[in-house]
């Protein structure tokens, strides 16, 4: 076992540097900010761009691919925690909601309650094509529609699903880190 650990220590580091992750010029296409004012207000309330931010993820009806990519942000390759960004267990601890999926009728109330439980100032970022406008499920009897039909959205991260780099870029950009 000791041998293995030593070989890993000598090996390459799995975590990718920020520059390597967000250098692709195409990344900026994935982010769509719709409410500059609230993001500005959020940043000034935070008092500086290097403060830690807590995120609560809410799946409101996705196919689970978006959630897996958000989950991947926590693995050692993307390691979002090094930027002081944590995923938390309760909306009461959160500064930002990451919402995925077309909001289903069955999740509408849960999403609204989660939003109401999140203290201000708070940001809502909708992730993926379905969260934008319902995507492929738009118009279904069981779907309410994009996230904005239920709670106000400040920014969208596009993709089906967005890659972890795109999520990381979007989140850091919204926070004014890059």
């Amino acid at each position: 076992m000791q041998k293995m650990i030593l070989s890993w220590l000598k090996g390459r580091i799995a975590t990718k540097g920020l520059k390597e992750l967000v250098s692709d010029a195409k990344l900026k296409d994935c982010l769509e900010v719709v409410n500059d004012a609230s993001i500005e207000e959020f940043r000034s309330a935070l008092g500086g761009s290097r403060r830690s931010v807590h995120i609560r993820e809410v799946d409101a009806g996705s196919c689970n691919a978006c959630d897996l990519e958000i989950n991947a942000l926590n693995n050692p390759v993307y390691d979002i925690e090094r930027f002081g960004i944590h995923f938390v267990a309760s909306p009461r601890h959160a500064d930002m909601l990451l919402v995925t999926g077309p909001v289903t009728r069955n999740m509408e109330m849960a999403l609204r309650k989660t939003y109401e439980a999140t203290p201000k100032p708070r940001l809502v970022v909708a992730v993926g094509g379905c969260a934008r406008d319902g995507g492929i499920f738009k118009g279904s009897y069981a779907v309410v529609g994009g996230v904005e039909r239920v709670i106000p959205v400040d920014a969208y991260i596009r993709g089906c699903p967005p890659r972890p780099q795109e999520l990381l870029y979007g989140i850091l950009r919204i926070l004014g880190r890059i």
């Binding site: 293995m4 799946d59 009806g61 689970n64 050692p76 009728r105 849960a110 492929i136 279904s140 069981a142």
Partner: protein
């Protein structure tokens, strides 16, 4: 000789007069139209008395446009044989009652409750008549899968309270969890009844993600349906779309080229590999062994990036299409082989460390036991079934694509605890790497796709067939019926999670609540695939 014949003959002999007609026009599938009253008896004969065959699926159709009746299909597979027996019952308008199979085989209950919501059928004798798919916000009396209900119907908002089962007694406590959970996972509600530490009862309420996928399918043609199949459960995109395409190809009478089959196998095994590695990691997380989780995270990422390089999608979306595949993965043979070699070595190291950690083993051994009888009764499938001693794997039993040409082991364990489910996943991950290596050694010069386009081999309307794939979670089943103009008349999707969720609620009994995440991760079920 037709493999189906002895089984059909036996059922006809045993239930003389109950079998009204038979249809064997689709290869491997035997449709027996039976008298409504005989459904539980014949189902029980297949399931318990004679073959101990698992219930694979049960669903309704609205075929009023064809012959004025609704129908209930009950699908069984003869164990270890590529033979599907499908019992068909006609329900006349106004007489939607049918005898429930639940009192004889519990696995029928969720299927019957689903039909009750979606079609308004009445399973007489099912002790659980609560609504399931449609939550309280849906007005009563609507049945979305009936043909006179439009996909985009705007519905009023209703209110109500779901009647959970309550366990009463001194010191009993209820712990409600969800639908918004603590981790980055999908929504569902778990209600634990505990006495002190141990769980006495767990009731799982799902369908928070119900999006009307089966209804959506009925508005699409079979080429569009294939993109929706990839979005049923994102982490099983290849499994779902392959099962879907198999059904379409069976109806159209199309033979897919060998090269396309090999490509599909590579994609299916890559999907199994990245998901099993992720599960090994998340079981480490939930046993608080974060080192294991980190290593698994890195390995999984390598497979995901390989997927991305191969298909432009980390979830391998867009590769499988009716008739074959859209690109040839053999062109990246060297990349696949070298990446998998590295991943295989990394996984071997990780497994060695996990299995030599006493504190980790202490958490996973004897935790969350699902015994074999319960697993059989609930028709549990996939790794949880194999961990509980049920020797079934569609890749071996119904060798689709070209699985008959490769050698692989189907791991089966007896104890049914978290450790066994972990072991099944570890073994299967290595088998997946070996299958991909075997496939890549094959040399074929085939086209990658046969055209199933509108102008060629048009599937006849109102024809039906099953598609069946052993996804990484278990058997994925698609039943498709075509409508005129290449449209889908009905598409029943069965994700393995649908039958495995009840298995989880039994596996946790007697365990402490803090071990629930570990048990849950050892099953790792899809909410999206269950809720549709």
């Amino acid at each position: 000789m037709d493999e189906r014949k002895p089984y059909i003959d036996e059922i006809k002999r045993e239930f003389h007069g109950d079998v009204l007609s038979e249809d064997t026009s689709t290869p491997g599938e035997a449709y027996l139209t039976i008298r409504k009253e005989s459904l539980p008896r014949i189902a029980n004969f297949l399931h318990e008395v004679r073959y101990s065959t698992p219930l694979l699926s049960m669903f309704g159709t609205d075929e009023r446009a064809l012959d004025g009746t609704y129908k209930v299909y009950t699908v069984f597979q003869i164990p270890r044989k590529p033979v599907f027996i499908i019992l068909k019952v006609h329900l006349k308008e106004g007489e939607l009652e049918f005898p429930s199979i639940t009192p004889l085989m519990y696995a029928g209950s969720p299927f019957e409750r689903e039909m009750q919501d979606m079609f308004g059928f009445i399973p007489v004798g099912n002790p659980d008549t609560r609504r399931m798919v449609l939550h309280e916000n849906f007005p009563r009396g609507i049945h979305p899968l009936r043909k006179d209900f439009g996909y985009s119907t705007t519905l009023d908002k209703a209110e109500g309270q779901y009647p959970f089962h309550t366990i009463e007694g001194e010191g009993m406590l209820e712990v409600p969890v969800g639908p918004v959970h603590a981790g980055i996972i999908e929504p569902g509600h778990f209600r634990f009844s505990v006495a002190g530490e141990p769980i006495i009862n767990l009731e799982i309420r799902l369908h928070y993600k119900h999006k009307g996928i089966e209804k959506l399918m009925e508005t699409l043609d079979f080429n569009e349906g294939c993109r929706v199949a990839e979005m049923v459960s994102g982490d099983s995109a290849v499994g779902h779309v392959t099962a879907y395409c198999q059904a379409v190809e069976k109806i159209a009478g199309i033979e897919t080229p060998m090269l396309a089959r090999y490509n599909r196998m590579i994609a299916l095994e890559l999907e199994r590999l990245y998901n099993h590695i992720a599960d090994i990691g998340s079981m480490s997380t939930d046993a608080s062994f974060l080192f294991g989780a980190a290593r698994a995270g890195i390995l999984r990422e390598e497979v995901m990036n390989l997927n991305d390089r191969l298909t432009g999608s980390r979830f391998l979306k867009g590769l499988v299409a009716p008739g074959g595949v859209t690109r040839d993965l053999f062109t990246a043979r060297d990349d696949i082989i070298s990446t998998l070699k590295e991943v295989g070595e990394g996984l071997k190291e990780l497994v060695a460390i996990l299995l030599s950690s006493a504190s980790f083993l202490d958490r996973v051994k004897t935790t969350g036991v699902l015994n074999k009888k319960t697993a059989e009764d609930l028709a549990v499938t996939g790794p949880p079934a194999r961990a509980s001693g049920i020797d079934s794997d569609m890749r071996r039993d119904v060798p689709y694509e070209a699985y008959g040409e490769v050698r692989f082991k189907v791991p089966v364990y007896k104890e049914g605890d978290v450790f066994c489910r972990l072991s099944v996943r570890i073994d299967e991950a290595f088998e997946s790497i070996s299958i991909i290596e075997q496939v890549l050694k094959k040399a074929v010069r085939d086209p990658i796709k046969t055209d199933v386009g509108a102008r060629h081999a048009v599937p006849l309307p109102y024809r039906y067939a099953l598609g069946c794939v052993e996804g990484w979670r278990g058997a994925i089943l698609y039943w498709i019926m075509t409508a005129p103009g290449d449209k889908l008349y009905r598409c029943k999707i069965k994700d393995p999670s649908f039958c495995n969720w009840p298995g989880l609620s039994y596996a946790v009994l007697g365990n402490i609540v803090p071990d629930f995440p570990l048990c849950n991760k050892s099953f790792n079920l899809s909410y999206a695939g269950n809720d549709l």
